[in-house]
């Protein structure tokens, strides 16, 4: 376990150290100019910003995220299945039937989402 986790933690430490070093270096070396309110306005190609960032957004963003979770579970179940597929095939076609049923149901779900125009970006 430690042979695999040790280097990852060391790498994470090296990366975090690198990021802090660089940001600290920029603070040290960067010029300290005065910050005028005009300069601090959000950058919108010079057009003065109309309203704050919390404007209304379309529903499609989180519907994609919801569907991503549900199909990600399917992918997670497919990973262990892919490992033992050939071994279990030697004992007969049962493992094949299992997966076809699983994927058929979820592909029907994808088909429902597709035909239900839930994925169409207006």
């Amino acid at each position: 376990m430690i042979q695999q986790l040790g280097p990852i933690l060391v790498l994470a430490g090296v990366v975090i150290g690198f990021v802090f070093l660089m940001i600290f270096l920029t603070n040290l070396a960067g010029p300290k100019r005065l910050s005028s309110p005009r300069k601090n306005m959000p950058y919108e190609c010079g057009i003065p910003g109309t309203n704050t960032a919390g404007t209304k957004f379309s529903v499609k963003f989180y519907l994609t995220a919801i569907l991503f979770i549900l199909f990600d579970i399917e992918v997670i179940f497919l990973y262990p299945w892919a490992l033992i597929y050939v071994d279990f095939l030697k004992q007969g076609p049962f493992i094949f039937v299992e997966m076809v049923v699983f994927m058929a149901i979820l592909t029907f779900g994808l088909f429902y989402v597709w035909k239900g125009h839930a994925l169409d970006w207006d």
């Binding site: 529903v59 989180y62 919801i66 979770i69 549900l70 990600d72 579970i73 997670i76 179940f77």
Partner: protein
């Protein structure tokens, strides 16, 4: 404090997941924002997952890890549908306070 009970056994994992579970319960009871309540429920389910894996390791029985799979599926489906409801309530009432959820009919 002698060092031998510092060595990690099954009890330490059970205590850790007990603490996480009670923090989740605290979150559900105290907070009024529906989404944070959903998050606390996710935290409680994670505490249960930790228990499953700890038992799988210390009793050398793989079924614990298999159960974690199914707990994960249920938690993800519940979070997805729960958030869809919270979004519907937000679009209607402009806030996600738990008191708004009493108006759900049917």
């Amino acid at each position: 404090m002698s060092l031998d009970n510092l060595h990690v056994g099954i009890n330490h994992y059970l205590v850790l997941s007990g603490i996480l579970f009670s923090i989740g319960v605290l979150g559900v009871l105290i907070r009024k924002n529906a989404i944070v309540i959903l998050m606390s429920i996710e935290l409680m389910l994670n505490a249960v997952n930790l228990d499953f894996v700890a038992f799988a390791k210390f009793s050398q029985n793989i079924d614990g890890q298999v159960m974690v799979f199914f707990v994960m599926t249920i938690a993800a489906a519940e979070a997805a549908v729960g958030l869809a409801i919270a979004i519907a309530v937000y679009k209607r009432f402009q806030e996600v306070n738990i008191s708004r959820f009493e108006n759900l009919k049917g």
